[in-house]
């Protein structure tokens, strides 16, 4: 089976990263499907926690926002945001968070605030929401983004959510937070971060993509792993679960 979309590849790659993960902060869209796929494959004990205050959701339909009422009915618990942010997230109970961004730099710092000058913005973006605290406090963070030069930039216009800051030990100096970005999952490949410099490198190419085609979409000279992998394509079972169980209407896998 070689018919699958770039989104399906991203969902499958993200799900596989969750092997043995226990508690994950879920966003809507691809991360949500990736987590649901992981529950059915590599992480049967995965607990999904939504910033809106829900955990143990059993949604009867594909949720359209993290505040969707279908997440509440039949959930294990619902708590005020004050509890969720303090007793779950800040307490360090969450293993994994997913984030997207309008701009990403080589150290996994994220901008979702503004393009251009903060006070005279070219484009005013949504801002942090919970992204800054997720970036700091989840043990590991996965970034999901489609690869292109507007997104993967040399320098952010604004650091909304810290990754490894200026690299090296810069993040450690912030204090006792989560480990930071573990991987960037894109439609062309998977990036990880070097152990000491914490600079992003291309770790795995999705089938059909080349280092050159990836480099074209990245705004800095990209490092590439010596043992560059090729991502295993989605299995039939993975695709079946996505297409038949998680997104039968095809809203997200297109």
């Amino acid at each position: 089976m070689d018919g699958y979309t770039a989104s399906e590849m991203m969902i499958v790659a993200a799900a596989r990263e969750l092997t043995h993960a226990r508690m994950v902060f879920v966003g809507i869209g691809l991360p949500n499907i990736a987590c649901n796929l992981a529950q059915r494959t590599v992480a049967p004990h995965l607990e999904l926690i939504y910033e809106s205050g829900v955990y143990g959701a059993r949604p009867s339909r594909l949720p359209l926002s993290i505040g969707d009422p279908c997440l509440v009915s039949g959930a294990t618990g619902v708590v005020p945001m004050s509890q969720l942010l303090q007793y779950y997230l800040q307490k360090g109970l969450i293993d994994v968070g997913f984030l997207g961004a309008a701009q990403i730099d080589r150290y996994g710092n994220l901008n979702t605030t503004v393009i251009g000058d903060y006070y005279r913005p070219k484009v005013r973006l949504p801002g942090s929401g919970g992204a800054c605290e997720i970036a700091l406090m989840c043990r590991r963070v996965f970034i999901i983004a489609r690869l292109n030069r507007r997104t993967f930039v040399e320098k952010l216009d604004f650091v909304t959510s810290p990754g490894f800051l200026s690299g090296g030990e810069a993040r450690d100096r912030l204090g006792d937070y989560g480990e930071g970005p573990a991987a960037v999952i894109t439609d062309m490949g998977i990036f990880r971060f070097e152990h000491t410099s914490h600079e992003m490198f291309l770790s795995s190419l999705h089938p059909g993509c080349t280092v050159e085609s990836v480099q074209e979409q990245v705004g800095w000279p990209l490092r590439v792993a010596d043992d560059l992998d090729v991502t295993s394509p989605p299995t039939e079972e993975e695709l079946r679960i996505i297409r038949e169980e998680l997104d039968p209407a095809g809203m997200l896998r297109g």
């Binding site: 969707d68 009422p69 619902v78 909304t160 204090g175």
Partner: protein, 304 residues
């Protein structure tokens, strides 16, 4: 002592030009009916506080009610931008808009400090973010039990909080279920509180399940009965979020002109929420109506 009044009177009496106003609710129970009445009464120079300004503040900004937003996420959830807010920020249309910006946790912490009468609230977020550079109200205190500093935010005490709930008695004692967001903290932080309820119930209903009472009447100034008052947001168990309306807003709001036409038709042109409900039509409410899913009961016991 009944505090039951109309939305028109509640807004006229309790929301004043120049006030800071919090219409809270995280996705759930966002009181659009109150926002529309504020637009109709042409309130001006408001500081609008909310984690997620959502469509309601986009509409209030477009209508010229606001001079400032205090917020953490400026978006049409699941759809895209808030175009009216962006026009105000990027182009000053219809008027410039001041932004005071936090993260979700920062906003929640500001409400907690406000509700608890604390001069500041400590949080471990913000580290490494440029928010520190653009918001001088985020500060630090020293940890007296070890080395290092801790970020703090100041209290947020809105002049008015408007809290939509599923049911309340006439004194404002209110039950909420489903997402509670920061409704409780916003209500306790505010100087004046308007409770807007899908249903007004006898106090015996409230008293049958006191653990479900999240807003006490003793902090409530006015109670308004406004069924469907949260549309296109939702009320758990009563009606669904109207995703189509959220998507449609993206088109309506792209131009200042079409947005104003929408306000004429759906806000200025209507006397209040009852007309809005009629105009929307029964087929919309049929589409949004969920099936039943009852909670089951618990036994509190009668002790004699």
């Amino acid at each position: 002592m009944s505090k039951l009044t109309s939305m028109r009177e509640a807004i006229a009496e309790l929301v004043r030009d120049g006030d800071s106003v919090a219409i809270e609710g995280f996705t759930h129970l966002i009181c659009f009916a109150a926002g529309h009445e504020i637009i109709r009464q042409r309130k001006r120079n408001l500081t609008l506080c909310r984690l997620t300004p959502d469509l309601i503040y986009d509409q209030m900004v477009a209508a010229g009610c606001a001079r400032k937003l205090v917020f953490s996420y400026l978006g049409n959830p699941g759809v895209g931008s808030l175009h009216a807010v962006r026009r105000a920020v990027e182009k000053g249309i219809p008027a410039p808009l001041e932004l005071e910006e936090y993260t979700h946790f920062g906003m929640v912490a500001r409400y907690i400090a406000g509700a608890a009468n604390l001069p500041f609230y400590p949080v471990r977020t913000f580290a490494g973010s440029d928010l520190l550079r653009v918001n001088p109200l985020i500060r630090q205190v020293e940890n007296p039990y070890g080395s290092g500093m801790v970020f703090v935010v100041p209290p947020l005490n809105p002049d008015v909080a408007i809290i939509h709930v599923q049911r309340a008695d006439v004194e404002g004692n209110a039950h909420i279920w489903g997402l509670v967001g920061v409704q409780v903290e916003a209500a306790f932080a505010a100087k004046r509180v308007i409770v807007v309820a899908e249903e007004i119930v006898d106090e015996a209903i409230i008293r049958s399940d006191p653990n479900r009472t999240v807003i006490p009447g003793l902090i409530v100034n006015a109670v308004v009965h406004e069924p469907f008052g949260a549309h296109p947001s939702y009320a758990q168990g009563y009606y669904d979020r109207d995703t189509e309306a959220y998507i449609a807003w993206d088109t309506i709001s792209r131009e200042h002109q079409t947005l104003q036409q929408w306000l004429d038709e759906w806000v200025y042109g209507l006397s209040g929420r009852a007309e809005y409900v009629d105009k929307l039509g029964s087929q919309v409410w049929q589409r949004l109506k969920p099936d039943d899913a009852w909670s089951g009961q618990v036994n509190y016991g009668r002790y004699c």
